[in-house]
């Protein structure tokens, strides 16, 4: 997928489909090309979110925009940032939306801003065939509709992020190709790219993605 300057990439999808992992990967990649901002717009789930990566973002010069109370013990869904200036000050803006329609409602608040972006906005719907809640193209299409309605916006494309977490292999991903085509047919949306494992040989329809959202006992491999 070509990502032009001043693009805004919004990642939506059912919860657990891997939006955050993809958002962090995209931010790290785009930061090599220009001024990148990542916006954690998840007001639903307090765990495993873009805001967990604050140190990594600051080390890579990524402007990280988080809800005020993210990663505190306050379960208060407040978005207190000026999204318009974040977008206008960045070459690339990635928006990590909360899961399912419940997580997508905050996007609706910015409806007019997003509509004013025109073609600069890519609103992507991320799906993972290996999630029990996404086992049929009909189910994926149903959730997509719910999310579009919560956002008051229409998705512009799909991301096939089918994976089994730590057990993802190239063949696990390859097995999802047929399913992805069905989803594309059902929704009438193009597959913008398929996430593949790191270092895999790829063409322009593939995006190598590292598993960055990990469990606490996986993250430390150096003990000395």
């Amino acid at each position: 997928m070509e990502i032009g300057r001043n693009s805004v990439i919004m990642l939506t999808g059912d919860y657990g489909c891997g939006k955050t992992n993809l958002a962090v990967n995209l931010a790290l990649r785009l930061a090599e090309k220009g001024k990148t901002s990542i916006v954690d717009m998840d007001t639903v789930n307090p765990y495993f979110r873009s805001a967990d990566f604050g140190e990594l973002f600051s080390a890579r010069g990524i402007n990280a925009v988080f809800p005020q109370y993210a990663n505190t013990n306050l379960d208060i869904p407040v978005l207190n940032f000026d999204l318009e200036s974040v977008i206008s000050d960045s070459d690339f803006t990635i928006i990590d939306v909360g899961g399912s329609d419940a997580g997508a409602y905050p996007v609706g608040r910015y409806e007019s801003l997003f509509k004013s972006l025109g073609e600069k906005l890519e609103m992507l719907y991320v799906f993972n065939m290996y999630r029990l809640c996404e086992r049929s193209a009909d189910k994926v299409a149903e959730t997509l509709c719910e999310i579009e309605s919560a956002c008051r916006l229409k998705c512009t494309g799909l991301v096939n992020n089918s994976n089994l977490g730590a057990e993802t292999t190239p063949s696990v991903i390859a097995q999802s190709a047929e399913f992805a085509e069905k989803v594309a047919e059902k929704t009438g949306l193009p597959i913008k790219f398929t996430c593949v494992t790191e270092n895999e040989k790829t063409d322009e329809t593939h995006l190598p993605v590292s598993r960055l959202v990990t469990l606490p006992w996986e993250t430390e491999r150096e003990y000395d």
Binding site: N45, Y47, A166, E167, P216, Y223
Partner: protein, 352 residues
């Protein structure tokens, strides 16, 4: 059987429905919310009832009602919400009713925090409610085990006519792992005691926890404790790793056992004879399995996400014959592998 990627909370909810749970009553609280959310979307589609009660107190009493009618019923909450349910749990135990209670623990006391914790060990194992009663407590340590133990919880509850708790925590509930749902034929036993309509074919069944005569109350408690003895004898479960020659046995349950396991592996890589003891049932506590795991041990280290709770059961189970040390973090902070390894190394220096 195919692999799917599930969050601990939704896996538990899905497993409950597959295990024949037909009634869920709950009240929202972080970090257990996905259980309710998942069941609110799916329970009705599968012929069950999801009801968001007006409070935790109402929810547990609805469970009492559904269980009285012989239906597999469940409620879930997180720490402060479980405290509110305690009176109802005692009534359920006293009425000899089966049900499943899920605690996706967060930090405490009080409102505490929404991050993971294991600070309800005492509450779960010693006194979730007033009076003389016990409750089987399962402590899963992975998303797969959460599924397997959900089936087991419903079966044990029916078998022993007792409330059963699944003690999860915020991390286990929120994390994702690939899992397989077991292909089992769920058999729900007959419940001739249930209040589900006598159709003029038998006398009324009565579910009751109030006894007017002291000797009748004593008799009913004694009968219940006879069942607890069977539970003691038959339900204990524990996982051990590298314990055959372990000089240091690291004991941990739930999510902290995952950290402990990585630390034990790292210690072994450094030539330290460390082992892991992980109780899968906290009630009944696997006393024999612990003593066997500690045959060669010189020291036991309890790793918990609290200020030291299971450490007391370890000392009791070992009859205080071994030193039992403690390492824990609190407030939603998960002990790191490095920290636990550091503790193991310190003990190793002292005992060699």
């Amino acid at each position: 059987m195919e692999k799917v990627l599930m969050k601990g909370n939704e896996a538990l909810a899905e497993a409950a429905m597959r295990a024949g749970c037909k009634c869920f009553f709950g009240y929202p609280i972080t970090p257990q919310t996905e259980i309710s959310a998942y069941l609110s979307k799916n329970m009705a589609k599968r012929g069950g009832v999801f009801l968001q009660a007006e409070s935790e107190v109402a929810a547990i009493n609805m469970v009492l009602g559904a269980a009285s009618a012989g239906v597999r019923a469940m409620t879930s909450s997180s720490s402060p919400g479980i405290s509110l349910k305690s009176e109802g749990v005692s009534y359920i135990a006293a009425s000899d009713l089966p049900c499943v209670i899920v605690n996706v623990q967060r930090g405490g006391p009080g409102l505490g925090g929404i991050q993971p914790s294991q600070s309800d060990y005492f509450q779960a194992t010693k006194a979730l409610g007033h009076g003389d009663f016990k409750m089987i407590v399962y402590a899963p340590a992975s998303v797969q085990e959460t599924i397997d133990m959900t089936y087991l919880a419903f079966d044990s509850a029916d078998k022993f006519r007792t409330p059963v708790m699944i003690l999860s925590d915020g991390l286990l509930g929120q994390m994702m792992e690939p899992v397989v749902f077991p292909d089992v034929d769920v058999k729900i036993p007959d419940k001739p005691w249930a209040c589900c309509g006598h159709e003029n074919k038998r006398s009324h069944n009565i579910i009751n926890s109030l006894f007017l005569q002291p000797d009748v109350l004593e008799k009913s408690v004694n009968e219940r404790f006879e069942r607890y003895e069977i539970i003691e004898r038959t339900c204990k479960m524990a996982e051990t790793d590298f314990c055959e020659d372990a000089e240091i046995v690291v004991a941990a349950f739930g999510a902290s056992a995952r950290v402990a396991k990585s630390a034990v592996n790292a210690a072994r890589a450094k030539g330290i004879k460390a082992g892991l003891f992980r109780p899968q049932t906290l009630v009944p506590f696997p006393v024999e399995q612990l003593n066997k795991a500690c045959e060669k041990a010189k020291c036991v280290l309890s790793v918990e996400m609290n200020k030291g709770q299971m450490v007391e059961d370890l000392r009791l189970a070992l009859g205080c014959r071994l030193p039992v040390e403690f390492f824990g973090r609190h407030g939603g902070i998960i002990p790191s592998v490095k920290e636990v390894l550091g503790q193991i190394e310190q003990i190793h220096e002292r005992i060699k």
